[in-house]
Subunit: 664 residues, 2 copies
């Protein structure tokens, strides 16, 4: 509405475009897609009166000035739909344009008039005028054809039915009269990320634990571990902070506030006289070693992910160089981190409310830029929810403008609104509540929320059964079976997932104390030695699961996830299917790590395009067993001590030859 007395709108438009989906927070935030994915746009589009409307979806890469156009189609109840694909990494824009289509209205009405055997001689002249106007805009043969048609319409002897010539109508559709078109108020954005943003398997490890007995592990040791990690099928190797570790207030083993001489401290207490966020902990190696590791990882088809934790140890150089970036207490001391009554004296937070906040933002952004220059493309960001939203929005959008292929994983285990805001403002992937969703009810409710619009349009979840901070009670008490259950859930519910190893594959499950989720002898505070050849190792299973993920495109996206009814609440069943339905994976999971469970699974055979009259195969890719199923309800029994899950690939019946059935 205009606020000025008698001010006319700029345009004499007759069309309303409302309820556009997807549109995140009034277009303030961008939708997320990866290369090659489709964007399906819907809107309510309607005008006054009864004229025919035409609508198009307009889209372009932000860097290109030219819109491409796709016609939108009418669905029902004033709802329209259009679609486009994004084939390039970077920001894309889309919007909608619609207009009263007088030619289409004329053609619809002419048909009714002819059916009612009315005199249409004047109507044919009306049509001729529109065709002539279109001919003026057309060139070459189009213009000639249109002019010839206009001439026919003007001839009194013409059979009126010729006016309905569909070929001519098709030609006219190319030259619509869009002088009074309505363009949607906003241009909406899509951030198009590389495929790795959608489909990724992460492996977290502490390089310092990779050294030979008694030695601090190095980047060179990390290189030696690459073949093992590649063999397990991971795409991303994520290292905790690699910077110099603070020496004052350094923590000792098991989070002891007092550290013994020689203890290594927590990598998240960043900075000492040896340097800060742009330096490397000397015991890990040099910057050249690090660059070399990035290259070696890439040779193994692994991207290296860095951990960015914006906080300082009390001896971080920033504190002397930029005292104004920190909060000073009345006694002259610097404010350390607290969650009263808990004190974290080994950590000093930045004061984002300081007067020089612009200088602080610039410096923090330059930390990313420094590591991007070394070759890093993937960042895991520690506790982003304790820094201002506006900072992240500014920082990530600035970085992605130059490097649109960057990936940022948000580690914000906090309230849903905050977690969602961080995803909206630019984080590529998000940690989430998966570690604490164990029962069928919890899992189905939670995934229903995060896999549907609007959440699925801006948040990509990354599922972690464990982290150095999270050893869940389910893992503590469920034995090796619990680790198998959580691994398979993470790897099949999520196109992106990760584990913190070798603690995970070795089923490490001792907590520091009862009711704690902290590891006993946590690697955060000490160097551990892992016996990778231990018999309980899940490395083989992990390798098999990651191979199944790579061979089955259905598991490489989260859009196709749906749950299926089972008659036993300990059995969870869900499927993922590619849009063309050629690849379908059904996972059936016994959520109980202790007992065998069995039950009946209901499947929507029509949606799966399974012939109800034919047997179909369910091929368990974990055990290479083939089950012969029939009808929409089939039996499953899972003994967790053998295997707690099936990862079943549907093979539909294709043909019979000499009494032998083939399944694909």
């Amino acid at each position: 509405m205009t606020d000025q007395e008698n001010a006319f709108p700029q345009q004499n438009s007759r069309i309303a475009i409302e309820n556009v989906t997807p549109e995140i927070d009034v277009g303030h935030f961008a939708l997320k897609r990866t290369m090659g994915e489709r964007v399906t746009v819907e809107a309510d589009i309607f005008g006054d009166g009864h004229d025919v409307i035409s609508a198009i979806l307009k889209f372009r890469a932000a860097k290109s000035p030219d819109w491409q156009e796709m016609p939108m189609t009418f669905l029902l109840n004033d709802r329209w739909r259009g679609e486009f694909s994004v084939s390039e990494i970077g920001v894309h824009l889309y919007t909608i344009e619609a207009w009263i289509d007088h030619f289409q209205s004329w053609r619809r009405d002419l048909k009714k008039r002819l059916d009612a055997k009315q005199d249409v001689s004047v109507d044919l002249l009306v049509g001729a005028e529109m065709v002539e106007a279109a001919a003026k805009k057309a060139k070459g043969p189009d213009a000639e054809q249109l002019l010839a048609w206009a001439k026919i319409l003007r001839e009194k002897k013409t059979s009126p039915e010729r006016a309905l010539d569909p070929q001519m109508a098709g030609l006219m559709a190319g030259y619509p009269d869009r002088r009074i078109a309505t363009v949607y108020t906003r241009e909406l954005r899509v951030t198009v990320d590389p495929p790795l943003a959608r489909f990724s398997a992460w492996y977290e490890l502490f390089p310092r634990s990779l050294g030979a007995e008694g030695k601090h592990g190095t980047f060179k040791d990390c290189e030696a571990a690459l073949p093992r990690i590649a063999e397990m099928g991971f795409d991303i190797l994520y290292l905790p902070p690699i910077h110099p570790i603070g020496k004052s207030f350094r923590k000792g083993r098991n989070n002891n506030p007092k550290c013994q001489p020689g203890e290594p401290g927590s990598p998240w207490a960043i900075g000492s006289s040896e340097g800060g966020h742009k330096s490397i902990h000397p015991e890990l190696g040099t910057i050249d070693d690090f660059r070399h590791l990035i290259e070696k990882a890439r040779e193994n088809k692994i991207e290296l992910a860095m951990d960015i934790a914006f906080q300082c140890a009390p001896d971080h150089p920033y504190i002397k160089e930029h005292p104004k970036w920190f909060l000073k207490r009345p006694d002259g001391s610097i404010q350390y981190a607290e969650n009263p009554p808990k004190k974290y004296e080994d950590i000093v937070p930045f004061n984002f409310e300081c007067d020089d906040w612009r200088g602080l933002w610039q410096e923090l952004k330059s930390v990313f830029e420094f590591w991007i220059e070394q070759g890093i493309r993937v960042f895991r960001v520690d506790n982003p929810h304790t820094k201002p939203f506006a900072f992240w929005e500014w920082c990530i959008s600035g970085l992605k403008r130059k490097n649109p292929d960057l990936i940022f994983l948000s580690e914000a285990f906090t309230r849903p609104r905050v977690m969602y805001r961080l995803a909206k403002l630019g984080f590529t992937q998000s940690y989430n509540y998966f570690p604490w969703r164990n029962t069928k009810y919890e899992l189905t409710e939670y995934f229903a929320e995060i896999t549907r619009p609007p959440v699925s349009d801006f948040l990509r979840y990354n599922l972690w059964p464990n982290t150095p901070d999270i050893l869940t009670q389910f893992l503590q008490s469920g034995g090796r079976e619990a680790f198998m259950i959580r691994l398979i859930l993470a790897a099949t519910l999520g196109a992106s997932y990760g584990i913190y190893g070798p603690a995970f594959e070795l089923c490490e499950n001792a907590p520091r104390e009862p009711d704690s989720e902290e590891y006993l002898n946590s690697e955060k505070y000490e160097i551990r030695r892992w016996d990778l050849s231990a018999p309980q190792s899940l490395a083989g299973l992990i390798g098999r699961v990651n191979r199944i993920r790579r061979e089955n495109p259905a598991l490489q996206s989260d859009t196709g996830l749906r749950f299926h009814r089972t008659d036993n609440d300990q059995l969870l069943a869900y499927s993922k299917m590619t849009p063309d339905k050629s690849n379908l994976i059904l996972v059936v999971m016994n959520l109980n790590p202790y007992y065998t469970h069995s039950g009946w699974i209901d499947l929507p055979l029509d949606e799966f395009e399974i012939d109800t009259h034919r047997t179909f195969q369910m091929h368990d890719l974990l055990t290479d067993t083939r089950f012969f199923w029939h009808g929409n309800r089939n039996y499953v029994e899972l003994n967790p001590h053998r295997f707690p899950a099936h990862i079943l690939r549907l093979r539909r019946y294709t043909r019979t030859e000499h009494d032998f059935d083939y399944f694909l």
Copy 2:
């Protein structure tokens, strides 16, 4: 997100304000309220980190520059709520402001520290600094008290518990540090209308049918009818168009395209050599007669409503004076109204796509202005959905800026999106699908949609069982009982409703032809004589129902409507209750006009504040019968030939005296 490289946001804000409700179409449209009603505003408000947040709701009349403020309260899951009342007609604005409240955070943390028996000497100094800063903003005794308190905080011997003094915290709340506050992006609007916009009973009649036998009725005859209409309890008398009726292509009886000499024509074919939209049909009287009628109506507590139909008869003066406002066909003729193959040659539509659309808009707006000057405050607008949305938005907002008490009723029997858009852009009340909602399923589904946000925030429904264009099949076939059912539904489901009389109260139900909703011998095309003393007249019942509406505030608003379970699908039960619960009306309706139906009604006694251990009275205001009910399930039986409905007023048990129970 900024689009410029490295551009910092203007403000270093740490708070997000999202999902504000109510907010209609990104604040483009205004919320609707009437004087005295409340606006309850909710929002997700959250910041980074763990600091305490404070939030206020700001509101003001658009014409006043000063915001008023109300604190918002935290509900749960980052959701906040605040409320304000609107006590003045006209546009009001509201928005939200929130900030990190360092003083509240300090106080919360201090308490935790004290509980943990930590040394808080430095924390007390931190607090003292904040109190001193507040003292600088305060004046008089507040400033003195704060300074004294700061001094105490600075004294080493002070008991730390004194720092938690709630009285001081209350004082500090008056001087918050809002330097880095976040103000919500938009200022949202509320249109505050007069009470008549919320609660109104409309009566439509054709003045020309009020004359003595053989004579054309006049405004004087209308004046004579006022006492009867007031006696029936109506607030608004709505007249079909009162302008000169076109003579060329005038329609005859029963919509005959050829009219016989002396036939009066349809009042909706507006304009002749005698004048157009600013003139009065000579046979009705003069402009002075009309002004007199407006005054006389007001003496009877009745507002006169005019019908504004923006269309012209072929001999309307506009057509000669402004030929460019109409579409010319290639043969030189003016385009008449059509819905192919149907032709409406007595009507010429305006061409809103003409080059002089600004001139056309101005003239149409001046039609309203002309009649406003004569004293009209209520307009019924004919077919607004066949004129551009942008025109209505511009026209109504312009008119209401000068006359905020105007009421516009939208007659748009069209698709839901279009109906809703007209309500959003400024129409005060809306006709709707009520005439065709007959079964329990239809009624509950439809009213669930239109009585809940977001629809209820912008659309006020006005329920019409009949109009001169709508004689539903239910009325055609259900006899007098059907008219009673539809009357009581309209008058109790809707705080605003209307009837077209005397056809309605005389139960006129003959259609022009089978399967038609047109009246036989429709008053639209001829003058009718009505026998108001006919025995079937519902005038008495209508008067009683309107008296019940006036005496029971629960029926004067639509916000309290809710449906209740019955075990018989022919029985519909619903209640309306005032916010203070003092007035509660329960309607039980037998939807079947032919047979007696009985069943059990479930009521939520706790929400109704009925003592479950006591008998309560249900007082039928239609028949003055008092039923004694007990518990949450009670029996009802309704014989439509006696009375198809109860309009029950709840009377709760109050006290017993000498074994005699009182109910209020």
